[in-house]
Amino acid sequence: MTQTVSYPHHTTEPALVTTPDHRPTPDYRLSQLETLEAESIHMMREVVAELERPVLLFSGGKDSIVMLELARKAFAPARIPFPVMHVDTGLNFPDVLQFRDRRVAELGVHLIVASVPEAIAQGTVKEEPNGSRNRIQTPVLLDAVEKHGFTALFGGARRDEDKARAKERMFSFRDEFGQWDPKNQRPELWDLYNGRIHLGESIRVFPLSNWTELDIWQYILREEIAIPSLYLAAERDVVERQGMLYAVNEFITPRAGEQIRREMVRYRTVGDANLTAAVSSTATTVEEVIAEIAVTRMTERGATRGDDKVSDAAMEDRKKEGYF
């Protein structure tokens, strides 16, 4: 069964309603969500106008869900004029995969799956001893980009997530090896984006650069966007590992000495199922999630990702290699 969050009034084209956030502005000011939405839509249209083969990275996580929704709005009533791609590590939450497939079918967009398990089977990448496929997904991504000839890749990364991301351009130039050079970025002025590239080079485009985690959640609430149910609190079987709660699943089984217990938890991020921790929560609605996030004192990556704690410069190093 596909579990998704549903909204009582949800339709694909939400009607204009008169809530405080929808009030016409007498002073012609947009709210922060409307401003961010307009900025993202502008970027997406610019990419489609200027770059030949864009693709949108879609994992079924909340940021890429919002990005896909913005793409739908940017080109409505036409279909989204580019395919979506999932770099599939094979370590997925089943709920999220089902959500991915359903959303793609609803929108009528083409889904390309770049499979890490296949690449391991073919010997193009090697499994790392610690079981993390975070690093080896980069060559799989780059191979898929080359195979399909993609020249622009939309990613859902936000600048509030990480210090390296805070310094990356919205249109981020990558050389023919997909690498980011932080000291040699193109100046980015006003909203005049430079998407010019030579053969083999590409642009990573981050339409959600200026969104914060709270903005994403408020937008999900305001636009009544469906999300996988993992994002809401429910009673789940968990084990505690290095101070974090991991839900027991296909990829997480109790180790010696670990006790399974039942707790109300939700996921704040959805990454690989063997590495993403849940957080204690009683939030069973999007409103309650927002209330919790508004008072939380941990970043979402710090609270839920085993893989970002390795070093202070972890993200900077991975981005230089071509990681998103």
Binding site: E13, A15, L16, R23, P24, Y28, R29, L30, S31, Q32, E34, T35, A38, E39, I41, H42, R45, E46, V48, A74, F75, A76, P77, A78, R79, R159, K163, A164, A166, K167, P182, K183, Q185, R186, P187, E188, L189, W190, D191, L192, N194, R196, I197, N210, T212, L214, S281, T282, E288, I290, A291, E292, A294, V295, R297, M298, T299, G302, A313, E316
Partner: protein
């Protein structure tokens, strides 16, 4: 190694389970969901003016710093008695090793009244291009001045760049007031010197605030150390500065970005012009003119992200349908027949040059202006401006990296332009090197009045 300031901050709060029924949670939720607008800020200052500390202070005191980020900074500043707030913003390893900020970084924080996007730009002379980049989108610029040193060449340069980019609001934060014993005379001398310098520039709104970023005085709340200062704290000023009148709601300009043709059965004849409103207000029924054809028609409908809207204004991203079937494509511009921009192939602009290879007369280059990209040749370099003294060097043969000068360009096709002082959207362009594809310059247009 640049001097690094250390700031005193209270012990971190413990991790508490979140009770959604608590008053704090209810208040936080209310803050999170309140309708707010965005203020875009650019900061500039020298390496040792304490800019990173000030930003760290704003982020920390507005609770935009999370415990794990704080712990990382705490680990990184291990050994000292204080936690180094500057480390919250110095992101890349290269910067930490050299103790400098090498590029524009963006920070986010919010209060119940506003959300803030802050472009943090380095102050070294060789990074003028980053400052121009950061200021390009800003509603407000903060220039930091060390109270012990007063106005330096750099302070003048920062103020000039803010005025060149037409940032409507400028705040001078006179920092390290604690190190001059909160001397009112020192503050007043700097304030007066800055005010008289600013009078020579286009700075419509200047505010000078005495602060100590290290100790937090006048940053979030008014400080008892400056009883002689009757202005507001920095954060209070950022929350309340009036920006509604900064925008141009008069001159209707809609650059066509993309043509939407669904070519589906349900929308067989649909043809919509997608774009972002540059200025003015558009409504269904308005009589409009399309450039370059000059043909006129009326607006049939305007669609926003949630369906039809009755009005569109900057910076809304909308799709416009016209009553008549005209040939309109990307790069065209929709305006009112009675109020059109200049249509010209001759550009007169202040150019900020951003690459090592100099700009010289005779050079060919690409110009990206709104949704139109055209080729151009550099006809003339009228003068190079000394950004510290504002002296015009009429004999300069070229513009080097980080130089600013007045340039004439001739384009292969007409552009639809306005004076940058009147319209920050249709008055701007970037220059692109056609061989390397790099962005090499930024231009602010002047038009004959």
């Amino acid at each position: 190694m640049a001097p690094i300031e250390e700031a005193t901050i209270p012990a971190q709060p413990g991790v508490h389970p979140i009770d959604l029924r608590s008053a704090a949670a209810a208040e936080a939720a209310e803050i999170a969901t309140a309708r707010k607008d965005i203020l875009r800020i650019a900061t500039a200052g020298s390496v040792d003016d304490g800019k990173s500390t000030l930003i760290g202070r704003l982020l920390y005191d507005s609770k935009a710093v999370f415990e794990d980020q704080y712990e990382a900074v705490e680990r990184a500043s291990a050994g000292g008695d204080y936690v180094n707030l500057a480390l919250l913003t110095d992101g890349l390893r290269a910067e930490r090793e050299q103790g400098i900020t090498i590029d524009v970084a963006y920070r986010y924080f919010a209060t119940p009244r506003r959300t803030f996007i802050m472009a943090d730009t380095p102050g070294h002379v060789q990074y003028t291009r980053n400052m121009v980049t950061g200021a390009s989108t800003a509603d407000l610029a903060i220039v930091l001045v060390d109270a012990r040193k007063g106005m330096l060449e750099q302070s003048r340069r920062h103020a000039f760049l803010a005025s060149l980019l037409r940032v409507p609001h400028l705040v001078v934060a006179v920092n390290k007031m604690d190190l001059v014993d909160w001397s009112e005379e020192t503050y007043e001398a700097i304030r007066d010197e800055f005010t008289s310098f600013a009078a020579k520039l286009n700075i419509p709104d200047l505010t000078v605030i005495p602060i100590s970023a290290l100790h937090g005085d006048n940053v979030v709340t008014r400080s008892a150390n400056s009883p002689w200062y009757d202005g507001s704290s920095l954060l209070h000023h950022l929350e309340h500065v009036h920006v509604a009148s900064d925008r141009n709601l008069v001159d209707t300009r809609f650059p066509v970005q993309f043509v939407i043709r669904p070519q589906s059965d349900a929308f067989h004849d649909y043809r919509g012009y997608a774009g972002t409103v540059a200025s003015g207000v558009l409504r269904p029924g308005d009589e409009v003119q399309v450039l370059p054809s000059g043909l006129t028609t009326t607006i049939a409908s305007i669609d926003g992200p949630r369906g039809p809207v009755e009005e569109a204004f900057a910076p809304m991203a909308v799709t416009i349908r016209l009553a008549d079937d005209l040939d309109v494509s990307r790069g065209d511009l929709i305006c009112r027949p009675t109020n059109a921009p200049h249509v010209t192939q001759d550009l007169d602009a202040m150019v900020s040059w951003m690459t090592d290879e100099p700009l010289r007369p005779g050079q060919r280059i690409a110009v990206k202006h709104s949704t139109r990209t055209v080729r151009a040749v550099v006809k003339e370099l009228q003068y190079r401006l000394n950004v510290n003294t504002l002296h015009r060097d009429m004999d300069a043969g070229e513009l080097g990296l980080n130089d600013i000068g007045r340039v004439r360009l001739r384009t292969t096709q007409p552009l639809f332009i306005d004076d940058y002082s009147r319209n920050r959207v249709t008055g701007r362009f970037i220059l692109i090197d056609e061989a390397t594809n790099a962005t090499v310059g930024a231009g602010m247009l002047t038009t004959p009045s």
